[in-house]
């Protein structure tokens, strides 16, 4: 019996994978394409996708013979949305012991905590977010027993074991030190010690270095790419004062810095622009939840745009995993509060790709990029719009998930008696 179930499961898995199998050539024709690239917005455009990559975009593109063709007439075609700080693939259900792989708390690891090992390739959460138009994301650790949480990864929402595109940023939260003073003291000391460790690694390994490092050697090793400026560091900060500290930290240590949260970024927008530090914000934040968020405002995005700060939009709180798809809605909210529509679309597509240094492959509909493309039946930032096709790495995925199966099972309650068929 158990074997049978397992066989059925494997069969189902193969079926699902086959149905999402790469069509050799896929074409999308007739839609209005917001390329986010040099070609701008093209009406009645054709996109040709081959082996998961975009081969051609334009009005006068010939569709190769034998291609599968999606008719996008009357639809809006945009790059897939990218969440800039999710736990996608790392939790099926929050608040359960099982299936939560995103926290290094109560483990011996901080910076070296590696979520890559915990990713769930057949996550129903990934599948559900994909059908809503999310095609790739930074998925990252949520916590640890220290300031550093470990590295995030860039994933495409393929629902396959090869979802990882590459290593993303190191994640750090200075507030974990207990208070702001302790946080900035500790983070600077750690960075100093990592530099020392990197230069004297063999001595340290032999026990000849100082024995009072703040971090274990393996956590320091994980931070070496950060102090060398080779790995981006995401710092979770909100207050204008903490943002100023972050700007000073970048200057003093030559870090490749990204700020996340950044609720009061608008107050220090000019300094952020001058320091070329990008920020990731949730435009929903307008409550003085803490003394570091007293300046929270719906206008953060619009004000940052006006000051020339590079920013990406991603929802937080409830919406870093199951409801990560709310990213389009909160971008729309920013538009309602003064942000230009095109900037808002960019803030969930091209800007995050640029901020995380993956725009060679992601963020726009341009020749050579990975084909993560979404078709919408209306304005993609509007709450009443729906996706009609979601293409990830060139595969046109069915718009189904465990949640749509549940819905369909109960859509017509007049079937009597009820059975679980």
């Amino acid at each position: 019996m158990r074997h049978l179930t397992r066989k059925l499961f494997i069969a189902a898995t193969i079926f699902l994978m086959a149905s999402a199998a790469q069509a050799n050539i896929l074409a999308i024709k007739g839609g209005t394409v917001h390329t986010l690239g040099k070609q701008g917005t093209i009406k009645n455009a054709t996109i040709v996708i081959e082996d998961g990559k975009i081969r051609a975009v334009g009005q006068n593109v010939t569709i190769p013979a034998g291609a599968d063709v999606i008719d996008a007439t009357g639809q809006i075609v945009v790059p897939g949305s990218m969440h800039s700080g999710s736990q996608l693939g790392l939790s099926e259900i929050s608040m359960t012991r099982d299936s939560n792989e995103h926290s290094g708390k109560e483990s011996p690891f901080t910076a070296s905590f590696d979520i890559r090992y915990g990713l769930k390739s057949d996550s129903v959460v990934v599948a559900d977010n994909r059908r809503h138009g999310l095609t790739h994301a930074i998925t990252q650790p949520s916590d640890s027993d220290g300031i550093f949480y470990g590295s995030g990864y860039v994933i495409s929402l393929t629902g396959t074991p090869d979802m990882v595109y590459g290593t993303g940023p190191m994640i750090a939260n200075p507030a974990k030190a207990g208070n702001r003073s302790a946080g900035w003291t500790e983070i600077r000391l750690i960075l100093d010690q990592v530099r020392y460790y990197d230069k004297n690694r063999s001595r340290v390994m032999k026990g000849q270095g100082p024995d009072d490092f703040l971090l274990k050697d393996y956590d320091m090793a994980a931070l070496v790419p950060v102090v060398k400026g080779r790995q981006k560091l995401v710092l979770m900060v909100n207050s204008a004062d903490d943002i100023r500290q972050a700007i000073a930290l970048k200057k003093d240590y030559g870090l490749d810095l990204i700020l996340s949260g950044a609720v009061e970024a608008w107050k220090v927008a000019d300094a952020l622009a001058a320091a070329r530090i990008p920020v990731i914000i949730d435009p929903e934040e307008n409550l003085p939840e803490s003394f570091g968020k007293m300046g929270a405002t719906y206008r953060n995005a619009a004000l940052l745009a006006a000051a020339g700060v590079q920013f990406a939009i991603s929802p937080r709180g409830m919406a870093t995993n199951h409801n990560a798809f709310m990213i389009n809605q909160v971008a729309g909210l920013a538009v309602a509060h003064g942000l230009d529509w095109n900037r808002a679309l960019k803030a969930i597509t091209l800007s995050p790709a640029r901020i995380f240094g993956i725009d060679r492959d992601f963020g726009s509909i341009e020749r050579g990029k990975i084909a993560n493309i979404v078709l919408w039946d209306g304005d993609p930032l509007e709450v009443t719009s729906h996706t009609t096709h979601v293409i990830v790495r060139g595969n046109d995925y069915p718009l189904t998930s465990r949640r749509t199966l549940l819905r369909d099972r109960y859509l017509h309650l007049n079937k009597r008696p009820f059975t679980y068929h």
Binding site: M95, N286, P288, E289, M318, L333, V335, T384, H386, R403
Partner: protein, 467 residues
């Protein structure tokens, strides 16, 4: 001994002459009556002028959409709604061209004031998580009127909201319905004449909070906990009913001992307090329905109710509302089966559907949540009009709160709780431009003088900077 003598005396006096009865009554202690409203509302509508909104698209909250219609508010009440209404001379006239007008949104599930901003331990006043049954606590005694969240909510078109205790407890205490107005006191916000709510909670939360303490640690333990409380409440109610009956019959009886916890439960059994039951799973809701029948009370609404779509027919039959999120799911096991079509599926079964927030951010854009639910329903063939769907935000929550005779729709004689939207509120781009409560303009996006700023925020930010 003394008791017997007294009884004989009473009997003797009764048999003597009617005139003497009153003398006996005076000799008795006065009848003890429990004050059901010891913290009365001091809310007074803010000053208003006779106001007409002309030429707008009006969603009445009763299912209808009137294009190019007008609405007249006078003395805090709605006087007329329609295409050809007479606007009295001297009325303040607002051009509603291109605008949408709706009833004020009612959030049946909020913790503003009891889990206020800033989110600090010292303001965490929503869960009396010290024992599983705390029917004696009243959320209104935790409400901090200075919570900046109220000022954010009005900018989202919220005119009325129920503040509930949290869901740590099986029976968490009384909820209170407030008008969303600036006030120095909770009493100044209290919705006049609104019945109290009683918060109950199914499932994971009580289990989690008490599992390693006093219990309950299981769902069956949860059920036993409620049932024991209701059995006690039935006995308490009988004591009071017997006392009142006997006293009125002229007997010299002693009033039962007051029990605050039992007062609230007796209020439910007497039909005066409405049950608001946090419950996610369909099977647990069914258990709660059976229990309500066992103890002869009524459940007004299931809250969160992420599985209501599985038993929408049962909920319709029982006339129980479901207060739901549009699409939140998966944040715990009992929320794993949440679907994007829950709200329209409940509505299409003929059951009462409500969009609720349970969240200081979500409360600011409940119209968007309704829009998502409405649109997701249409996608699978559940075709509601926008007019019908707006009931999920206004009239249905008013019903669940027992105030549908006073507010929740744009009907003659009701409170003039009205929102003017910049455009169709079923859009992420729509903003509440003007919000009237009892006819008074409480918020005007174009007039910073109307913006509220709580004492807490003074000195930190400019008034209205949050929007």
């Amino acid at each position: 001994m003394f008791k017997i003598q007294k009884k004989i005396m009473v009997t003797v006096l009764f048999s003597l002459a009617p005139a003497l009865i009153s003398v006996t009554a005076v000799a008795r202690d006065p009848m003890v009556v429990i004050d059901k409203n010891p913290y009365p509302s001091t809310y007074k509508p803010f000053p208003s002028v006779t106001t007409a909104i002309r030429g707008a698209t009006v969603l009445t909250g009763t299912g209808a959409q009137l294009d190019g219609a007008s609405i007249l508010m006078e003395n805090g009440k709605i006087v007329a709604v329609g295409k050809d209404i007479k606007i009295p001379y001297g009325a303040h006239v607002i051009d509603g061209t291109g605008k949408w007008v709706t009833p004020g949104i009612i959030d049946v599930h909020s913790h503003l004031g009891v889990y206020a901003s800033p989110n600090q331990e010292s303001l965490s006043d929503g869960n009396e998580a010290t024992r599983p049954v705390t029917a004696d606590v009243w959320a209104e005694h935790s409400v901090w009127p200075e919570d900046p969240g109220f000022s954010r909510a009005i900018a989202g078109g919220i005119t009325t909201l129920q503040i509930l205790p949290g869901s740590a407890n099986l029976i968490g205490g009384r909820g209170v319905t407030l008008k969303n107005v600036p006030s120095r006191t909770m009493e100044g916000m209290k919705f006049p004449g609104a019945p109290y709510g009683l918060k109950m909670a199914c499932g994971e939360n009580p289990k989690r909070v008490y599992g390693k303490k006093s219990g309950p640690s299981t769902r069956m333990g949860n059920m036993a906990g409620y049932r024991k409380a209701w059995i006690k409440a039935q006995a308490y109610k009988k004591e009071w009913d017997d006392y009142a009956r006997d006293y009125k019959a002229g007997k010299d009886v002693k009033a039962p001992k007051r029990d605050l916890e039992m007062d609230s439960l007796m209020g439910v059994l007497n039909g005066e307090i409405l049950v608001h039951n946090h419950c996610y799973r369909a099977d647990e809701m069914a258990n709660m329905i059976d229990m309500a029948r066992e103890f002869h009370y009524k459940i007004s609404a299931f809250h969160h109710a992420v599985e209501s779509y599985k038993i929408a027919d049962l909920l319709a039959k029982e006339h129980i509302c479901s207060a739901m999120w549009a699409d939140w799911w998966g944040f715990k096991l009992e929320a794993f089966d949440g679907v994007d079509e829950n709200i329209p599926m409940v509505a299409s079964a003929g059951a009462c559907a409500i969009v609720h927030s349970d969240d200081p951010t979500g409360i600011q854009r409940l119209n968007q949540e309704a829009a998502k639910a409405w649109s997701n329903g249409r996608k699978v063939g559940l075709d509601f009009t926008e007019g019908q769907a707006f009931e999920w935000l206004t009239l249905n929550p008013a019903r669940a709160l027992g105030i549908a005779d006073k507010t929740g729709s744009l009907e003659k004689g009701k409170m003039a709780d009205v929102v003017i939207w910049s455009k169709n509120p079923f859009s992420v781009y729509a903003l509440a431009e003007k919000v009237f409560i009892d006819g008074a303009l409480m918020y005007d996006r174009d007039d910073p003088n109307t913006y509220w700023q709580s004492d807490f925020e003074l000195g930190y930010s400019r008034k209205g900077a949050h929007q």
